[in-house]
Symmetry: C2
Subunit: 419 residues, 2 copies
């Protein structure tokens, strides 16, 4: 018998309410299937299948061999901040000073710090539904108030100036967008972003632009809101070495701050995380070199081929996604023809076919039960096979046999561009 002093758990209200990623349940079930010998096609994972480039760990290792394993300054390795400033100049014709760049341990930390720097309890934060799930949690943890604006394929699942104006109300301190976005892969055009930034500055609200998938765009040049001249001082850009740069496990991101936020972000960083990982920062310094960027461009092209192959396979199977992703590596697919419960749909699909995809519920509430996210982070052969399996699954399940007529056609996608 235990002689422990009894104790009643007493978790905070906010932490108790935090939702897990529902995709984790899919992942766990997929692992059980794999352990039983069944093959699983992983289209649920928001991570490139490529490992980081060899030059990354070589550079990290060389730095460590020279004894460079101590803390860096909280704002980041000066050489890396300088190199990123150059990167903005070279690739986006953006005039960014290294002083305004803060290196963070992943973009999650950047998002958390920025919202901490801005939000008082009760301040309202407007974002799109669907969107990256963690943003909602950051706002909840800071006792902010969420204004999740339902968006559909009609606005490319994005906020725009009209939606800002139509939904504007007192107390909105921050608007958050992502371009390209997770889970939809859609982009907000530069003129629209600038118009939104200016409207928000007039309202004295901040504009957080998540460019985490920057660089992973197809049939168009990569862009940054920072390429605009005369950007008002309310714009904060979040970015990451995880996606285009393929350095997920190295946990490194950055943000670009207006002048008045530098000092407060430095102080928050000193207290909340001290410094980003040093080996990762030396690795990132290397990944911004020309030869590495070329290797990453080749990987981008592979993602584009996969996207095209996925869309092509879906069309072959008479599926009609309403929108073609312009970037990232996701397709957000309206499956309302086949189910009114996309979570059950994903669970059944996995059990019956071994294809793992993510239910819409992870990204919000609006039409979440009608959507699923397909990640094209695996090779073309598997993607094609997966679509065939999904097709077979749908045809075998009688309750999905609904009439598929008069469906809206593809939007924003040049059909000739698909192999």
């Amino acid at each position: 018998m235990s002689n422990k002093t009894p104790f009643s758990p007493n978790i905070s209200t906010i932490a108790s309410a935090i939702q897990p990623f529902h995709v984790m349940k899919i992942l766990a079930e997929a692992k059980i299937l794999e352990a039983s010998g069944k093959e699983v096609i992983h289209m649920e994972i928001g991570e490139p299948d490529f490992a980081s480039l060899p030059c990354v760990h070589q550079a990290a290792n060389e730095a460590a061999e020279q004894g460079l394993t101590h803390y860096t300054p909280t704002m980041g390795l000066p050489a890396l901040r300088e190199k990123l400033a150059d990167f903005y100049g070279d690739f986006y014709q953006a005039n960014v000073s290294q002083n305004n760049i803060m290196i963070t341990p992943g973009s999650s930390t950047a998002l958390q710090l920025v919202l901490t720097a801005l939000l008082n309890p009760g301040d309202k934060v407007m974002l799109a539904d669907p969107a990256y799930p963690c943003n909602r949690q950051f706002v909840n943890l800071l006792h902010g108030e969420l204004l999740a604006i339902p968006v559909s394929h009609e606005t490319q699942y994005q906020l725009n100036l009209d939606l800002l104006k139509a939904n504007w109300q007192a107390g909105i301190k921050v608007v958050m967008v992502a371009s390209p976005a997770n889970p939809t892969g859609t982009i907000i055009e530069q003129n629209e972003l600038l118009a939104m930034a200016e409207f928000l500055a007039e309202q004295n609200a901040y504009f957080i632009v998540d460019e985490i998938y920057q660089g992973l765009v197809y049939e168009r040049p990569a862009e940054s809101i920072l390429g605009n001249v005369n950007l008002p001082e309310n714009v904060i850009v979040i970015n990451s070495f995880s996606k285009f740069f393929g350095m997920t496990g190295w946990r490194l991101g950055w943000c670009v701050l207006p002048e008045h936020l530098i000092s407060v972000m430095d102080r928050l960083g000193q207290n909340l995380f001290l410094a980003a990982p040093t080996p990762s920062q030396y690795g990132a310094l290397r990944v911004l070199e020309q030869d590495a960027l070329q290797a990453l461009e080749a990987r981008r092209a592979i993602f584009e081929q996969r996207r095209n192959a996925l869309i092509n396979a879906m069309q072959q199977a008479s599926f009609t996604p309403k929108l073609i992703p312009q970037g990232a590596f996701y397709l957000y697919w309206d499956v309302s023809e086949y189910t009114d419960n996309s979570e059950q749909f994903c669970a059944d699909l996995l059990q019956q076919t071994g294809v793992a995809i993510t239910p819409g519920r992870d990204f919000g509430d609006y039409q979440a039960k009608q959507h699923v996210r397909l990640a094209y982070t695996t090779d073309i052969e598997k993607l094609t096979l997966a679509v065939q399996k999904i097709s077979g699954f749908i045809h075998q399940n009688a309750d999905f046999e609904t009439v598929k007529s008069n469906l809206p056609g593809l939007v924003g996608f040049d059909i000739q561009g698909i192999i």
Copy 2:
């Protein structure tokens, strides 16, 4: 002229109030001095001067060469959690399950997550003054209420059961201690820790025990509160690979959680940081091997020699620290004989002698102006020279010429043990 839409900065109240580390000012001034050609002895830095062991970056690099650069699970690499559980068994006779161990990107994140999991706005957190400065900020950010209990050399600058009882009041949700502590290097004995844990469980309060400096102890065995059997379910242990393990720049820590906090911490981690750095986790796996631990023990012995040399030099100079640090690499020194403004004392000392130390203000309010922290994170020759310089500085400044008689003697220190 700029055509920017005007914007008025609007930072959150809590972020505005966050203090920088005042030692940063000392560090910045030290760098200016160094740039002007003056030699600086750095005793302000809370970081081992040693780089991480070569086996750490070798192991990280080998893992990366095998393509192991993706995200790990949020709770951490299973092999590392298992190895840490073994470590607790081998070194502390502690029965810790790997399921209760969560790997975090530095112990800062562990502390932040744990407090997020526990605190509702208005919940009270009791801690010692002086203490590690970030803890106060974490509580402020969560809108908790701080109960900073003044502690002096009479209780080894630590909370104890008597102080808990004497200062108890309704609404205390958490008590935080560190053993060994920063900035004092003092330890809370095991029987005291257990008694505190049991008292707190009776009050239905949590007990966060920071063991970040665990292993860096002198003339006594390293211990963990987890070595106690029948520990109540209110105890949370925070630890780090930064100090004893010397992996500062790799940003890796962990916490040991009671069963009922595992799920909520996993969910918080999924949202707030995703996963700790993968290369760092492979490095940490290697640093827990026997040969690496032996190399770290040799480094511990060097810190012990430095401590002894520092104390010895201070006694030679007729300084009488009231307390000898039992662990970590800090001496918290009462300089009230020489100044009533330790911040000015540190600034003047640096300018006149090139010796950089940290003012008490970074660690709290109580007698902060009477204390400075000396870090023995540099070699013995420099430490000895620094004390001579401090002595010269004090004798040259007339206003410090006060009578030094009837001072309390050394506490808890075997004078014979000093070389």
